[in-house]
């Protein structure tokens, strides 16, 4: 195993603290549960430790972590195919309170996201929740920008369809 130098080891902790929320949140949005997201985050940071911090800048570290996180999520979900049932998408008409409504909408959206193929899920999560540019998403997914744009628009159409069927 390639050990990172002592001065960099301190900065590994800094990178871990700075990026852990990003990695965990992304993994959670793609995988849909915290336990799996924690496993993916651990593995991503161990890979970062093995790789070392030989990046041009902090942005490059972040992009590398996004790519590794998405790949680990893809690996993890490759065996599990998304189910096409709508039973888990909660109905909208449960609460009138705005904050509760928002919370409920989040849950519905997460449930609908879970029904998408994992690559489309990642293509939506990275720009919409993580705020990445199309170029960054393309780098993270290892696809072209054109493919990513197509995946995003297809995923949004599917999401709308799932949510509207849930409302009906």
């Amino acid at each position: 195993m390639g050990e990172i130098p002592r001065e960099a080891a301190g900065s590994f902790d800094q990178v871990l603290r700075r990026r852990e929320a990003q990695v965990l949140r992304t993994a959670f949005r793609i995988l849909g549960n915290w336990a799996d997201a924690e496993d993916v985050a651990q593995e991503a940071f161990l890979r970062l430790h093995r790789h070392g911090l030989d990046f041009a800048n902090d942005g490059a570290t972040g992009a590398w972590l996004y790519r590794v996180t998405v790949n680990l999520c893809l690996d993890r979900t490759r065996a599990r195919r998304p189910s096409q049932e709508l039973a888990d998408v909660p109905s909208l008409a449960r609460s009138a309170e705005a904050s509760v409504l928002m919370e409920e909408q989040k849950q519905r959206l997460m449930a609908a996201l879970a029904l998408l193929p994992v690559k489309e899920r990642a293509a939506v999560v990275l720009p919409e929740i993580e705020g990445l540019s199309t170029a960054d998403v393309a780098a993270a997914l290892g696809s072209s920008e054109v493919t990513v744009r197509s995946q995003i628009s297809k995923a949004l159409v599917r999401l709308r369809g799932i949510l509207n069927r849930g409302d009906a």
Binding site: L16, A21, E38, Q42
Partner: protein, 132 residues
């Protein structure tokens, strides 16, 4: 839910905090796994060294020893090294032979004469007769 509403919900999700216990668990697990590895590596290295030492030791022990050089000595040299020793003649001892054991002569078998043995038992009415 239309696309605009979806994007609004996504933006809300962006600001959601990550659970502190999840963050702590990841931090601890990463730290443990990073610091456990050198020990695991050291154990593996130590095991490999011990195994190599055992193999080398076994090889040295089981290897046939070096052949001892045999000094070629000519017969005259041996004669020089070992002077002839005179062996005194042994005193003559008369040899006694042990007397042969006498063989018992086989009794001559008389042909044509019937031989009978009469054995009387305790019972006066029972008599055993062995004929020939």
């Amino acid at each position: 839910m239309n696309e605009q509403e979806m994007r609004e919900v996504f933006r809300e999700m962006r600001d959601e905090p990550v659970p502190a216990d999840s963050l702590a668990r990841v931090r601890v697990a990463v730290d443990q796994r990073i610091h456990r590895r050198p020990w695991r590596f050291a154990w593996k290295l130590a095991a490999a060294v011990v195994m190599a030492a055992c193999i080398v030791g076994a090889f040295l022990l089981l290897r046939p020893g070096k052949p001892v050089p045999i000094q070629q000595v000519s017969l005259p040299e041996i004669a020089q090294v070992l002077p002839p020793v005179e062996i005194p003649p042994l005193p003559e001892v008369p040899v006694r032979t042990a007397p042969r054991p006498k063989r018992a002569r086989p009794r001559p078998v008389v042909e044509g004469v019937p031989v009978s043995i009469r054995i009387e038992t305790a019972d006066p009415d029972v008599v055993i007769l062995l004929v020939n």
